[in-house]
């Protein structure tokens, strides 16, 4: 026994540093994969955006010319301008999913027979694939056979070709996107509503709060975490909108429904696309836009944690 006490145990160093090492070891696989598959490609894209490369031959260093081209596309109101403008419209209108989801959640948050079935029916659009949503909506919008024009016909309004009209097409696609996104926000709020404290509601009721005042001053503050998550997923969903555009219009007619994510794909990876560097430059712009939001989200999470 004197042996054990006199000389340090063979695991001494490990023992001493276990507290600090254990979390590092547990984090290691995640950090490694995150670095290799997320962080490294970000820098790779930055680097690639300074080159002109068709994906096959040798890459040619062109400095900031890809960005210069983007700038001129912006000035000329060309594809890049359209994409950026549409991204903005997506960002603003997609947020409608949050209040819509909230009200459906409030509506469904009651105990009647079969409520679980109704809830799952409302949740259904989020479960089906975006591709299916896109197809369903393009049939709905079809100018000759579609349901939309049939309905408009009943009230005496002329036929409109939503997906063929450059001024309407983005709104048409956003409407399709709102369908599943609202369901997503609804489910977030439904879980949030479970956590609302009944005693506070009771207290509010005793103080005479009703309807809107009850919602605004008593319920909503308690739903803050749900609202926060809903904001995050909706904004990120809006910025990376791609599937619906690809399925419904392929960015058309004549490129008027493009967003940055789709334009990047078109330029670099589609049938006619060979400009990897240019695609990377668009990716960098999109990344910088997302970075603003991500930084804000991280900052507000950090602030909440410090307060809590």
């Amino acid at each position: 026994m004197s042996m054990a006490s006199s000389s340090p145990s063979p695991h001494g160093w490990w023992r001493r540093n276990q507290q600090t090492l254990a979390p590092a070891l547990f984090l290691a696989p995640g950090v490694l994969f995150f670095a290799v598959y997320v962080i490294f490609p970000i820098f790779q894209s930055f680097n690639l955006s300074l080159y002109e490369w068709d994906g096959l031959g040798t890459a040619e260093y062109v400095g900031l010319r890809n960005y210069e081209d983007l700038y001129w596309e912006w000035v000329d109101r060309d594809a890049f301008y359209t994409s950026l403008k549409n991204n903005l419209i997506w960002l603003v209108l997609y947020l409608l999913a949050i209040p819509a989801g909230l009200f459906i959640a409030l509506f469904l948050n009651q105990n009647v027979w079969g409520i679980r079935l109704y809830k799952s029916l409302f949740f259904f659009p989020f479960v089906i694939s975006q591709v299916v949503v896109g197809l369903v909506f393009s049939w709905f919008y079809d100018p000759t056979f579609g349901l939309l024009n049939t309905i408009l016909g009943w009230v005496g309004l002329g036929p409109i070709n939503v997906l063929g009209d450059p001024t309407l097409v983005t709104y048409g696609i956003i409407a399709a996107g709102l369908w599943p996104q609202t369901a997503y926000c609804m489910i977030l709020y439904l879980t949030g509503l479970n956590a609302v404290d009944p005693e506070q509601i009771e207290a509010g009721r005793l103080d005479g709060a009703k309807g809107w005042r009850m919602l605004w001053h008593v319920v909503l503050p308690q739903l803050r975490p749900a609202t926060f998550i809903a904001f995050v997923v909706t904004i990120i969903g809006a910025l990376r909108s791609f599937d619906l555009i690809s399925v419904m219009t392929e960015g058309g007619p004549f490129g008027s429904s493009r967003v940055l994510a789709y334009y990047m794909f078109e330029v670099a990876l589609s049938e006619y696309g060979f400009r990897m560097g240019y695609g990377a430059a668009i990716a960098v712009v999109l990344f910088l836009i997302m970075l603003c939001f991500i930084a804000y989200f991280l900052w507000s999470m950090y602030r909440d944690e410090r307060r809590g």
């Binding site: 994906g55 096959l56 392929e250 400009r275």
Partner: protein, 371 residues
């Protein structure tokens, strides 16, 4: 075809991978570099240029030097040549032209037009009868490229068209405008179906089947679905796109599908044997026959399937296309230029008033793409 080749060469073990047409267009870049097969299909002319320039296709000029191929495939040699060398062999092609409803033409007392004046007069009568002259679906853009091909080749001729595809002529040139003016005449008289920007080429077929449109400028592959939809050969006719400018020689679109040997292929001798086999007169007759592709054989000695449209197409391409044979806009022009220009064509077909802006945009794209 592969089974017959295998029967001829029992010592070869052949693996085939079938890939969906659209997916293939993106996947080819991966498998040519990473895991090259011995033979790959692709398209002729400019469409193969990126792979030729990247050194991914094998130079097969030696095959073209063999008399068997040199003599019988001469008509497509130009489309397979880049920098004076041949990079693959064709295995099938098909004609483009106007497919029309004979019964509607008969009802209105119309003849197949051969000049632009006749064409416009016909179209006016069709419009007056409450129909559109042409169905088209431009959602995927390339169908508008076909219209531009014909209008420009008929207005300015084959050589000008190729110069434009090669970036040697300004898009703001008066001659280009003349092409668009002709196009506009048809658009303004209501010649095309409405809302074409929302339809694919297949979705545009029902308009012709239901008699809401009288004709379709399309490749021969449109015949099969039209027949399946119930149109008989009595109702369906074909004519060559009419002449516009009498001074230019008629030229046609006839896209050619091809076989290539990837430069990284492991078994190039067997691959060459396969290419020789594919283009032989006998095999050409079989693979382009009615039971298989139902298109035109590339070998001058093979027989064309006994089909009204193939016969007309074959006669047209072999004797009435003195100006030349184009591949198709998105194969003759570089991919990027094809993309922006076809988007411009689509916009023009919807909003002809935007022409100046469109041409300015295309001109800027030309300056960037061909530099």
């Amino acid at each position: 075809m592969i089974e017959r080749f295998a029967a001829l060469h029992p010592d070869l073990n052949i693996e085939t991978t079938v890939i969906d047409r659209e997916a293939y267009k993106t996947q080819i870049r991966n498998f040519l570099t990473a895991n090259a097969p011995d033979v790959a299909t692709w398209y002729a002319a400019n469409r193969m240029r990126p792979y030729v320039e990247a050194g991914l296709f094998e130079d097969v000029s030696d095959l073209w030097a063999e008399p068997e191929i040199a003599e019988n495939l001469a008509s497509t040699k130009g489309a397979m040549t880049i920098d004076g060398k041949q990079w693959g062999v064709p295995y099938t092609y098909y004609q483009w032209g106007v497919y029309y409803r004979e019964d509607i033409f008969a009802e209105l007392g119309l003849e197949e037009p051969s000049t632009w004046e006749e064409e416009l007069a016909n179209c006016q009568k069709i419009v007056d009868s409450g129909r559109a002259c042409y169905t088209i679906g431009t959602k995927f853009l390339w169908t508008a490229g076909g219209w531009f091909d014909y209008l420009n080749m008929r207005t300015n001729g084959f050589d000008f068209h190729m110069a434009l595809a090669g970036g040697e002529v300004s898009w703001e040139d008066e001659r280009v405008r003349a092409t668009f003016d002709n196009w506009r005449t048809l658009i303004d008289m209501g010649g095309f179906i409405a809302n074409h920007q929302t339809y694919s080429w297949q979705e545009a077929l029902p308009f012709m089947v239901q008699g809401e449109a009288a004709a379709y400028l399309m490749g021969n592959f449109a015949v099969a679905p039209l027949r399946e939809a119930g149109l008989t050969d009595d109702q369906l006719g074909f004519y060559q796109f009419p002449a516009i400018n009498p001074d230019v020689a008629l030229a046609e679109d006839a896209p050619t599908d091809t076989f290539h040997i990837p430069a990284n292929a492991s078994n190039k001798e067997a691959a060459r044997e396969f290419l020789r086999f594919v283009v032989s007169a006998e095999q050409q007759t079989i693979i382009n026959g009615p039971d298989n592709l139902g298109q035109l054989p590339v070998n001058a000695k093979s027989e064309v399937a006994d089909d009204e449209f193939l016969n007309e197409g074959f006669a047209m391409l072999s004797s009435n296309s003195p100006g030349g044979v184009a591949q198709f806009w998105d194969r003759d022009a570089p991919a990027e230029m094809a993309k922006v220009s076809m988007e411009g064509f689509q916009e023009f077909m919807v909003n002809p008033d935007n022409l100046d802006r469109i041409l300015a945009r295309l001109e800027r794209a030309r300056e960037r793409i061909y530099r």
